[in-house]
Symmetry: C2
Subunit: 313 residues, 2 copies
């Protein structure tokens, strides 16, 4: 942390010295794209990202291609990328069939997922959130047996498109269930971006009483512009793992035209300004963001990305 | 403040109970528009804003129309709006000629301005920042004699497009000069949006040792996506006046395609989430933002605005 950081912020609770960024653009980001993204573009994106110093990249999803056609080439992506020493490549795995694909693809980290919202769970997969997570037990066991890292991702921790407010107890219940399944890391996700800084600090602090703060991650969407304030608040209560998406890839299916994942460039700009280490080279990320935005033929969704690229031009 | 706000944030330094929003869209925002905006659109915008509960609207600029043609109709705007009791209507005033226009327009608050960056001052007005501010002494005196409120706006407090870093001492020197001129309120502006949360907290805290914190305001641009995190940090060190622009009106002349002023909707969403009172009705602001975005034929620049309008549609 920057030694010049003012005393008030030190009093405010110290910021972490170092933060781990989990880059989710290739999976969570591209999944939201309507047009098919060619496999070689995905591979090139992952390779550019892995050369930035990132230590964790969410790369594939082994859910049924019937449900998520954009991710149908996960095995090819995993096979074609240049695997970089020290980088954890993660994939979403809903069932044992998906787990086999993950194993054969030599995925480093298996991601299982559930919602903190009962209404979201019922509406999306037609079962209770407890049942939904129980279904992952076999996947979790298989991953542990294979010596793979296991991550549990909890959507709708800060609000739900169907039920609105989500009780803190529901979030904590899912944290406990994922903890019981042996997760190495648990994500608190603001799937629709509705959370604000005080609420985020409160939920993170409560979750940290059930699961080690150093293994809890924050997954924030910038739909309401709140993501960086939320990350700043979460850091003040000790969280030090955050998800982000290069060029802000990813939309929001619940609000047409709205923004999705917080942009990696914006997060890095904040961390660099605060003197919090991430080990990630923002210039490499800027170029990766420029590459994928051009490849998709869409504007760069990162504010810092647009400003820094314009300055460099 | 929300009584449920978690203990960690209370320990972190209490947030203010109430914040004053200074809406700068009609002036700082529209000034960046290339195409001429019809006077009746400006008037309609100001009227919509003044019905939201906002207590301060930057409405006009009486600088030479040779320099800022978009603001040439300031007298007509001031004459045509419905003046609402309790709302302070502000105008930029560079000289005594501008002051006469402000007087005749019954402006409530005169805004004088300077930069904390020597390079910015030299490049933009070809004199030192001390000389630039001295030139405002006659305007300040005239405003005080007329019993009008006086505000001093300091640009480039957190970085400069020409010199890069701006020494804290330069910021504090301009604060002192504006204080000596009798300013009732002084703005610390991040004109190019480069500041980050720790730096903002540090500068605000230092400035508050020279001028009452309750009369210092933060003017943040979202060029690098940092504005809300900066506001959140500034509130934690006691700042409680913030500038914002409906629909994020306003660009950044130093980075093409980049975002300008932080959007009023995004700020209100944050404040409402934190339980910090502003007295402003976000629904009225949402409609005003939708109105002006359509009138200008451009996308709404507020993330919260886009998401909330999409949800309501």
């Amino acid at each position: 942390m920057d030694e010049n950081l003012m005393p008030a912020l030190r009093r405010a609770g110290s910021l972490p010295d170092r933060v781990k960024i989990v880059e989710v653009g290739p999976r969570d980001g591209l999944q939201a794209e309507k047009a098919e993204v060619p496999t070689d573009i995905k591979v090139e994106l992952v390779n550019r990202l892995s050369s930035s110093g990132l230590s964790n990249i969410e790369t594939a999803s082994f859910v049924s291609p019937k449900w998520v056609p954009q991710m149908a080439d996960g095995r090819r992506v995993m096979a074609d990328i240049d695997r970089r020493e020290g980088v954890v490549y993660s994939a979403l795995v809903p069932n044992l069939r998906g787990f086999e694909s993950a194993m054969e693809s030599e995925v480093d980290e298996v991601v299982i997922f559930g919602a903190a919202s009962e209404a979201f769970s019922q509406r999306n997969i037609n079962c209770s959130l407890a049942e939904a997570i129980d279904r992952f037990a076999v996947v979790a066991q298989a991953a542990k047996d294979a010596g793979m890292r296991l991550r549990g991702s909890i959507s709708c921790c800060f609000g739900c498109p169907y039920q609105g407010a989500v009780p803190l107890e529901s979030v904590l219940d899912v944290v406990r269930r994922f903890s019981d399944l042996g997760c190495d890391e648990i994500d608190l996700a603001d799937t629709i971006g509705v959370g604000t800084a005080g609420q985020v600090a409160r939920v993170v602090e409560a979750a940290a009483k059930r699961f080690p703060i150093g293994q809890l991650s924050g997954h924030f969407h910038d739909t309401y512009g709140q993501a960086l304030a939320n990350i700043f608040a979460a850091m003040q209560v000790g969280m030090n793992i955050f998800h982000s998406s290069v060029a802000g890839l990813g939309g929001c299916p619940y609000a047409k035209g709205a923004t999705g994942n917080v942009a990696t460039e914006d997060v890095l700009y904040l961390l660099n300004g605060l003197g919090v280490q991430s080990g990630v080279d923002i210039d490499v990320i800027l170029n990766a963001g420029d590459f994928i935005s051009r490849a998709l033929g869409k504007p760069n969704g990162s504010r810092a990305g647009r400003a820094l690229l314009a300055r460099a031009a």
